[in-house]
Amino acid sequence: MGQIQLNQVSKSFGSVEVIPPLDLTIEDGEFVVFVGPSGCGKSTLLRLIAGLEDVTGGHVTIDGQDATEVAPAKRGLAMVFQSYALYPHMSVRKNIAFPLRMAGLDKAEQDRSVAQAAEVLNLTDYLDRRPGQLSGGQRQRVAIGRAIVREPAAFLFDEPLSNLDAALRVGMRLEISELHKRLKTTMIYVTHDQVEAMTMADKIVVLQAGVIEQVGSPLELYQRPRNTFVAGFIGSPKMNLIQGPGAEKHGAATIGIRPEHIDINENEGLWQGTVGVSEHLGSDTFFHVQCNASHEPLTVRATGEMALEYGAEVHLTPRTEHLHKFDVKGLRME
């Protein structure tokens, strides 16, 4: 079981309110990702759930029990830290066994759990090494192993992949997702990388300045962003947001259109512009086009075969059925 509920939880450091009162429910077995720009309070929120920070107000409920005043170790949650926080003077075996040793389990039982976790995480050959002798990905797995053996109600991940190189990050992303499918345990995952959020989450919580901007499945957020912040944050490359006369024509303060929903044509179209930088990814090509509809250059996705010179004249046509409209406050209009 691992249902976590936040009721009017808030956090202030001195007079600075980092998280205004918020409500959030995380269902048992869900993979929830907290995503937002740096300093948005997502890590603080995770630490509040873990109990490493005291809440200023409100209640944290785990499996129906009020855990607000419960010590971190007693909440039945396991955390994987950004720096992995492995104990450098202990072997991998002792690192993984540490929570069991603290719980007072006997040696045979510890060994059995460690062997099992090592098996799952492909660490069996490294059990007698020190963390300093392992690569980044292996250290990450040891940290996860230390969390698994506790059989927690929920796993908390605090930007666990940010210290890994790009290739390893993609691999670990898959491993963590697969682990979730296998264990079916609640996981809460903090990241600033919206690609990680989109690929791993059952449910994404978008945060800005401690406020929840939107909660929903990755596709919900992608297709129906609740406001301009979510619209700009989710999706890579970013959604084009157009203000001014171009938007007023559609009766909105701001309109948004994703790069893949603009057709680019050399001969005719609704908007006219000149091509700036083109980014060739092989499968797709992204053109940055300065056009008459907006002050900012628009990003347009085209097929990988399309090639246009810098400065070429092009025409753009947005597909109106995919247009997002936002009002003066930046909220979605239907």
Partner: protein
Amino acid sequence: MATQHSRSAARLMMAPAVVLLLGWMLVPLTMTLYFSFKKYLPMRGDSLANGLDWVGFANYTRFLTSSSFWPSVYATLVIVGGVLVITVILGIFLALLLDQPMWGQGIVRILVIAPFFVMPTVSGLVWKNMFMDPVNGFFAHVWRSVGAQPIEWLSQASLPSLILIVSWQWLPFATLILLTAFQSLDQEQLEAAEMDGARWPQRFVFIVLPHLSRAITVVLLIQTIFLLSIFAEIFVTTQGAFGTKTLTYLIFQRVLESQNVGLGSAGGVYAIILANIVAIFLMRIVGKNLDA
């Protein structure tokens, strides 16, 4: 850039420093060894100019068989050991306290470090006259205020008193080194241990102490080097009386009070051997902490 030419030029330029350092070490060592095999009593008319008599190992046997020798080795080891234990244990506690955020942290830290800047002679005299004096000392007043008979610290409890004085001087050093070690401890490791269910004493034993082990090693090694040769504190307090005669002090007495340079030199060679034995033991016990 490390061409043949630049390497030989570098050697040439380093040579004066290397020669100077070698001379600095070798000349006194050779002279000590040389004198230790000679009869050299300046007050009885022996002098380098007249030539010194070769006496073989007579100085060595005499120094070793003297009734003061083994007590001096004992006193040396007790003082060094006592100071090491006190400074490391108290140093850990003080460093732990100073690591906590508090008002006036900067000033408190400077105050804690202050004893290290007091010259050994001065601190020895201050302790002897202002604290341990059985008539006017601070401790005497404290004892009398509760109706107790004041302790004559430097005669009745001479070794503990000396250990107290020297520990007071070296505590700041240990505290400082250990404090920097505390500050380099990754807080996430402590949080991880907390999540893993370790209580504070367990976090201290399993996470903090292992992290401090290297700093403790450094403190032990450096302090041992300096503590084996403490002199001023003994000279200004007990003058080697009441069982506080260390090996260093015994050598001083042989050379300057008895005016027997040969005998003192033989003692000096024993001191080198003792220092090496202690060093080897220390390296064996704690040296592996300095690896990796």
